[in-house]
Amino acid sequence: MSNLENDRPLLQAEGLSKWYGRQLGCRDVSFDLYPGEVMAVVGESGSGKTTLLQLLSAQLVPSAGRVCYRLRDGAVHDLATLGQAQRRFLFRTDWGYVHQDPALGLRMAVSAGANVGERLMAVGWRHYGRIRSAAEEWLDRVEIARGRVDDPPSTYSGGMRQRLQIARNLVTNPRLVFMDEPTGGLDVSVQARLLDLISGLVAELGLAAVVVTHDLAVARLLSHRVMVMKDGEVIESGLTDQVLDDPREPYTQLLVSSILPA
């Protein structure tokens, strides 16, 4: 237990709220996320999941509350006090953001290799050969054939695009990855392969992640813990298998009982 108490949270949300005018995005969300911990945020559309993800990743400014992040040097910063340049630097190095729609996270017209290499160049890599071989190595890890390195993602299938987006995000060795419905819109067989790949990489790299999903199977497979959101508020949270196998709240029971048997 002592080493558990010694390590400190990577990301801390304190009383996070967001109003869009009179419309509530999310209200009073607080949690600590530790290194290597994967947290799923589940709930139906409109429950505030995506708002929360954007607040956590400094893409939205909270109406109340704050998000603190522990940088690699150990210093903890309120994201609101970081300058634009520092936030951009975080986004390029220490964080990843996997969009549901790969077209938002990729440059569709440039080659797959360049999509991955671009993140490395943004953190100062200059040697073409090394960038290329790092990109190829990452394409291998996400199971994209070497022969497709020079093709743009516009020629890729949906599953390949999503795997490429993951490679682009992980190539800089981030410590925290945000994922917004990473398997949404994919065929079931493609989903299974992608989930398997993500769970392997997350465990191997010891990544912390916040995964927004409406799919409880995704939460079960990827996450250690889960927060259930409804109407902008967190109504239940805990260990993933505990919340899914022994749900307490009426809405969580409804979600769990609504899964169709395969």
Binding site: L4, E37, A192, L221, T240, Q242, R248, Q253
Partner: protein
């Protein structure tokens, strides 16, 4: 030395989708298991035996009481511990063999079995080698090892599950009907594995309906029907 102490543990379910029906399961559950001891939970089906194992593993929540797990010099109350403390305990301090294997697509049998050791920090190759030894003892033919277990028979899946649960040496091992769908030879193999765990000082809490197996492994019975909660 006590490894696990349950103190006045209480559990009920409220089924909100069925008009808020309240189902009391157990109340006042108190028992302990010491290092090297196998405690068998007894009582008819539906009395709450599996629920108790699930509460110990942190899979079900408790309504009240304490579940104290002693690991090295620390004591954790699983009833109130945060998720990451329970996950850490599952990696290092407690194993659980459920009745059914929850198979992950695409992961090979050998890696399914080796995973708990890998999570506990053992190098993958060594973990696989040790997984292979156990699979052989449980008569899973080597040609099946590279395949995901999803398509295996019920008995094969159960043996894969047992191998996975028995691979790492944790202070506490929870067994839910580990021999339910096994033939005599494999039952004997599981009895031998349990005896070895006990010799190595592992505390075991088990649900075993098969009397022959229970007589062979259990040091003590705890009758769960004495803890039936009033409706």
């Amino acid at each position: 030395m006590s490894v696990i102490d349950l103190v006045e543990v209480r559990k009920s379910f409220t089924m909100h989708l069925q008009g808020g029906v309240h189902l009391p399961v157990v109340a006042g559950v108190s028992f302990s298991a010491r290092a090297g001891e196998c405690v068998a939970l007894a009582g008819p089906s539906g009395v709450g035996k599996s629920s108790i194992l699930k509460m110990i593993f942190g899979n079900y929540r408790c309504d009240g009481g304490r579940i104290l797990l002693h690991d090295n010099d620390t004591v954790t109350d699983i009833a109130t511990a945060p998720p990451r403390a329970i996950i850490a305990l599952r990696r290092h301090a407690m194993g659980y063999v459920s009745q059914f294997l929850r198979a992950v697509p695409r992961v090979t049998t050998l890696d399914v079995v080796a995973e708990p050791l890998v999570l506990a920090g053992v190098a993958r190759e060594e973990a696989r080698a040790r997984a292979g030894v156990l699979l052989r003892r449980l008569a899973i033919p080597e040609r099946l090892w590279p395949l995901p277990p999803a398509t295996f028979s019920g008995g094969e899946q159960q043996r894969v599950n047992i191998a996975r649960g028995f691979l790492a040496d944790m202070p506490l091992l929870l067994l839910d009907e580990p021999t339910a769908s096994l033939d005599a030879a494999n039952r004997a193999a599981v009895i031998a594995l349990i005896a070895e765990k006990k010799r190595r000082g592992v505390a075991i809490v088990a649900i075993v309906h098969d009397e022959e197996v229970r007589d062979a492994v259990a040091d003590r019975l705890v009758d769960i029907s004495q803890f039936a909660a009033a409706a």
